[in-house]
Symmetry: C2
Amino acid sequence: MSPRGRPRAFDREHALTQAMFVFWERGYEGTSLADLTGAMGINPPSLYAAFGGKEALFCEAVERYGETYGSYTPRALREEPTARAAIEAMLRDNAHTYVDPEHPTGCMVVLAATNCSPANRDVCDHLKAQREEVRELIRARLHRGVEEGELARTVDVEALGAYYATILFGLSMQARDGVGLPGLTAIIDAAMSCWPGAKATENATGAASEMDTAPVASS
Amino acid sequence: MSPRGRPRAFDREHALTQAMFVFWERGYEGTSLADLTGAMGINPPSLYAAFGGKEALFCEAVERYGETYGSYTPRALREEPTARAAIEAMLRDNAHTYVDPEHPTGCMVVLAATNCSPANRDVCDHLKAQREEVRELIRARLHRGVEEGELARTVDVEALGAYYATILFGLSMQARDGVGLPGLTAIIDAAMSCWPGAKATENATGAASEMDTAPVASS
DNA sequence: CCCTTTCTGTATCGATGACTACATAAAAGA
DNA sequence: TCTTTTATGTAGTCATCGATACAGAAAGGG
């Protein structure tokens, strides 16, 4: 059961986490092998033996991100009782992580490879596929809301989903530009005020009234 | 008046435009000198003589972008008669340019340098400052709306401005991921439905009713 | 004409990019 | 102990990065 040869001298999980942070902060092309080996505390041969290469390491780092800091989106969309609560929790939970000073700001999937040279198209496409997955999860949750009678059948699920995905992606840019949690919270308040059926004469950016759902905790 | 030495053999303006397109498509770090000289149809010494270097060329390309494809934002915020019309025109005009197949998708200021290696921090900060300028223009226009009585004094200009900036930035990511004009238009419809005072029982994503302002042209 | 000035193309520069050859070290199996 | 297997650290590989040295070409001034 124990592997045959010389045991690895570093913690693979910890090294992967460190790599994730660097990629998250500087993006794929902005991160060099020297940056990675420095942050991971290992030499290039160890990196290649354990992870295969820069691109493979990046993909694993994205996976790890999805299982940790990026897990709030699927969690909220899966576990919250209503579509509205799911979308709102998705936005607020992510906003919290986007500004956590313990790690880089914003979302790694949005910021780490928005553009690239043709040589790295695979990496770009990989993150693009991750974002498409988020869109699909949002759409699916809204569709379920329609099926369960929470949302009217007249609601354009496609459009509403794209709208909240836009908010989610835009929040990453705002966080990366230094907008803090109060700022992001105010943005989400505004974004939730146009939930279908929200009876607002003055919405969250003005004097609140007649919101049919109370805001979720934002600490 | 004619310069002393050998005349330049290429059109500086045209070369700058080509450089802008490449930076727009691939980002600052994703673009190499070879990419630039190839697209501009010149050799490195000509590039350095005419523009100074990669970073200086990028800054000029961003300037050029601001005077052309990026000019819709300040135009809308300056010229539209009401704050609401200004914000809506800003979003719709930009959406049109974001998906124009004649050039790269999305906004160069949002996509060309969201993250970077420490060596290129200046470039990142430069674009970040450009985005801050957009935020300030939006805030100023909303503030003017309050002063002119269009918006209630209870409206949180800071929050509403951040909200529409988030939409604007998010649209770039959507466009870059392949969302077309109909998709972006639907997102903007939703975003405008939570304008303060919008009396919507069903908003743009459902069955529209009682919108106090008609949508602006979206072709 | 020559001189100065500026631009152009070739052919690089040193630095850094991702990646690896190789000898050695540390474990298990025999 | 000896072999096999895998990981490690040193020291490189080749390609490409942004940026230039240099010689010649194309203009104006004299």
